[in-house]
Symmetry: D2
Subunit: 342 residues, 4 copies
């Protein structure tokens, strides 16, 4: 339920309504954009007061049908949320590019890649230390050692780092080393892990599950936000369909649908969607044209030798080439995109 | 099988190879791009000659694995095919926008829309006269009368027209009135109709079926081309997946995959993919950024009153607004897009 | 809209209601099962009379929400429809097995298979003469010659025959030779062909499209029935999903859903669903256990040499083995299944 | 790699081969069925010995291509694995029915349901205490209290109990109360949890993810088995597709495909597949006819008042009715199914 206030409502009337709800034990959310003010009635106690609120001065109407994800919904917060990761802001005018290898493999590898992508305009560094792999016999990541290598490479280049967390018991370890925590597609419905993310201090990059609807992604974000952490960035990375020409089907429509439904930033991961480096640049451009706030791509200094996801990793020169294209597209839709350094 | 000639092969050697195949009853395709020449061995008779061809002067190698759609494959024709529809060229530098209503409803309606979209930079006019509808009780189109109204509106505005054909027996009627014939998604596997399209003189706009793979789309195009008509334009218009936030899932990856696999032009239809006009502009921009040669959109002068597909139709001002965005994105990726008239 | 009559309504009251609707130009459908009588108001003229009908004696209530497929809906015909094909009845107590090759290839081949399946309890013979193939270079069937061979084999064994029709212009030819006409999955949304099926005298076997919902299958049936032919049998044959272990995903739930929604008989085709003969017997048994009225399977005397669909064709001994299992399952769910001959 | 021994190989030769591999540090698996013996070479050390093994007496051949899930593959264990849960055996002749509510709600509720399903022939009791719910605002289960109530109801009726575990940190708590641990569909790719299941003493019921392929399900089982617990039962419970007439699409083909690929028992969950109690009995019968070793169904004493999954829960009389049908189908395919008590 959302209480829509009259435009031009007085501060005093607004305060009275808020006080009335709070004094009666209700939980609420206030959202203001220009002349419009919404007060969301979040819990049952608040909603029970609706008949009385309806008659208070300054109330234009009460809307009773609300989305099942109140806190991430744009109805409860009309303006865009900007998530800061170190000195990088996701959700503002700049389209933020996050790049790096699928897995951290060695100090040399991650440092080389970090320098390469920083030089071409990446704003953040990605790299996996704990890898969820379909087969128990595949490379599972370097673990704690990988985290340290990633942090060192980020520190050297000045890029904040993001890495995946796969279980609640790793929280302390990962938050100590990473600037942002990624929940991977396979864990989007791991509700225990989502709740844990609400109780730690880092911003969260939440990837859509391969068979998750957009509504389910928003509900997963609601788990994190309702547990106390409102700094969540959503990521479209391809869904599973009948088509086998690509690893997954990049659902670019998710970008405008999410931007309409939620105030949270939305980025795209064309690497996992495509599964093939020759398509990554085109899909990244499509995502930016569709309104994405950022792009997450896999880059490797030697893709043929990569321990995971080699076929979909860009080379460093390939990444630089993609950046030139993305910059032009970003400008065409009224955004900016990280300039090259140097 | 493809015979790859040595770079710098002499004209004389080239001619000898071609003559040898033809004199032995084989069917072939020659494709040249810069220094590279491929000779495709299309039928069994030609392929049987491979051992002898392999030893002829000027032959670098013979590649035996070839795609199941030889004539539309880029291996058999390395350069891009440009399909001309009247004075409009699809597949060149310009991104061609085709706009109009789902169904032709009246002389006034189609004329109003035609003028509106022409003024905003559309290069072709679309409109349905024979509508394949899921329910037998839905509006099925104006038929022959609708064709005439569409042709008149196209003639008045100077826009070539494209309309759907649903059965072989309508061919004479439709080719008499339309500049291009559309095979709709539901008929992409109607092989009798595809073959018929190969035997008539108009270029063909072939839409991907909602559950068709990219390979099946290419095989459908091969039906038309192998039956004698090489002027085929492919169209991605959304596939059926589990996601219900959009009418279909716009598979934007199909654009770069198709551009890699085939020499035929590729356009996108964001209206049917989205099913919701608020998403059309973003998806159209995504398609252009991904490399599409054109965009097909539904536009109506009064969407609320439309007899079909109202919710996904742009208004005329909405179309003009989209065109401004598309033009900027087209330029960002090295293309142009129709200027406004007047 | 459906007029539900009071139980114990008099014949006289019933007749008055029907007469009132007809005299006012309305179209109706009467359905009776035990004590319950429904009168469906099919067209606008009939529905306009609802306010007056509501007050007539014998009317219990008028239900206004009705399915979009009124004529095939169980609300308009509560009892099961039985479709007779020659002396075979589909939709009654017996589970009807229809067997034969994907394609008719020669007189010997079809006769051998016909005798084999007849001996093992098949009640009808299937065989393709016009084959819709994904590639223009695949075997397209023997055409008219194949039809004649199929009819001869059916005649010799006493089995009615069913074969696919792919275009309206073949209707005369196919109806002259076949006892039942099949609309294949690829043509389920070929509405021109569906309408044509309503105007010819043979019963129709309508297969579900690989990406068609159950509702769309029912609407396709409504096309045939509303065009004048109520003898339609529906067939579940697998849908397209992300799973690649089978050719298609056999949607066995479609059987009980369809039996609840429609009065038409429902059969299953496990061969096309599985794409692998080792699975056919299990899926056929699943279909019968779920309530199917029949089973359509591909059988070949020499699957390795088959011109199409060899991998999914049962051998004749494999078919006989399957029949033993199906017979036991049919009896377990209160049905019978064709006894072996001789 | 699999070493296939000659039929009639001597015990002495067999022992020599095994000893040779072990002495050289290789890991192996021996599987015998009738006259056939396979020795699987599980790790790199063992595979490196292949050239020498090939020449040893008693070796018929070495097959180099093996499935990516060696330990659960039927190639490594030709006979069926039977998983014992208390006095119940899953994977033998009897089709085991496991029934109970979605969530444990109260002592009364679970006791009533336990008595009801036991009386109708259920062999195990299910009930959720930790519920993974899509929305953070939905009922999340009674937790530890629910576990105790479930155990008490199982104890009273003599039915072993199975319940879901959602995070590694709950292992001690859940194994103390439950006879079998369920990994739900949402956690099928939670590899940390799978590994944890390999290190605890209870048998595991592993449900297929809604977008997981059959191969991925087998790889998930390989995680558990390779971590030390070979008592795994697989469960097909419906996959996500475009069809919306059912909650999920029940992929009954998974049953025969899994029975061919693996030696582990396979059961079906028609309740989550259908999402509608009117379909459950038909789908359960389909599963048994297709070869399932068991059926998992949701039953509630008062479905309308259930805190979760009410619409798909059978009533107790509905369950008894289903059992009568399943018993007949089980017998038809050469199995038995739990008799009613008393």
């Amino acid at each position: 339920m959302i209480v829509v206030l009259s435009s031009g409502v007085s501060l005093r009337d607004k305060a009275s309504i808020v006080r009335f709800i709070e004094q009666n034990g209700g939980r609420l959310l206030v959202s203001e954009l220009g002349e419009v003010t919404h007060i969301g009635l979040v819990d049952e106690a608040a909603r029970a007061l609706a008949p009385q609120i309806e008659t208070m001065p300054g109330v234009a109407m009460i809307r009773s049908e609300t989305p099942p994800y109140p806190q991430v919904s744009r109805e409860h917060r009309m303006g865009d949320t900007i998530v800061d990761v170190g000195r990088v802001s996701i959700g503002g005018t700049e389209v933020v590019v996050i790049a790096g290898p699928c897995s951290v493999e060695s100090a040399d590898q991650i440092a080389t890649i970090a320098r390469g992508v920083a030089g071409a305009g990446a704003r953040m560094l990605r790299g996996g230390a704990f890898k969820p792999r379909t087969s128990p016999y595949s490379f599972q990541g370097l673990g704690a050692e990988g985290l340290a290598l990633l942090a060192a490479a980020g520190s050297e280049t000045g890029l904040p780092v993001v890495t995946e967390i796969v279980a609640p018991e790793d929280t302390e370890l990962v938050t100590a080393q990473a600037d942002m925590l990624q929940i991977g597609a396979r864990n989007m419905s791991n509700f225990r892990l989502l709740s844990e993310m609400g109780a730690q201090p880092r911003p969260v990059l939440l990837k859509r599950g391969i068979a998750s609807t957009i509504e389910e992604l928003l509900l997963a974000a609601e788990y994190v936000v309702s547990a106390g952490n409102s700094r969540v960035v959503l990521c479209e990375r391809g869904i599973r369909t009948f088509e086998t020409a690509t690893r997954n089907t990049f659902d670019v429509s998710a970008v405008p649908v999410l931007k309409r439904e939620t105030h949270l930033p939305v980025i795209v991961d064309p690497s996992h969607a495509a599964g093939d480096r020759s398509l990554v640049s085109s899909l990244a451009a499509a995502g930016v044209a569709a309104g994405a706030d950022g792009v997450l791509v896999e880059v490797h200094n030697d893709p043929e030798a990569a321990l995971s996801d080699g076929p979909q990793s860009l080379t460093i020169p390939g990444f630089a080439e993609m950046m030139t294209k993305l910059r032009a597209v970003a400008v065409a839709v009224g955004r900016t995109l990280g300039e090259t350094v140097g």
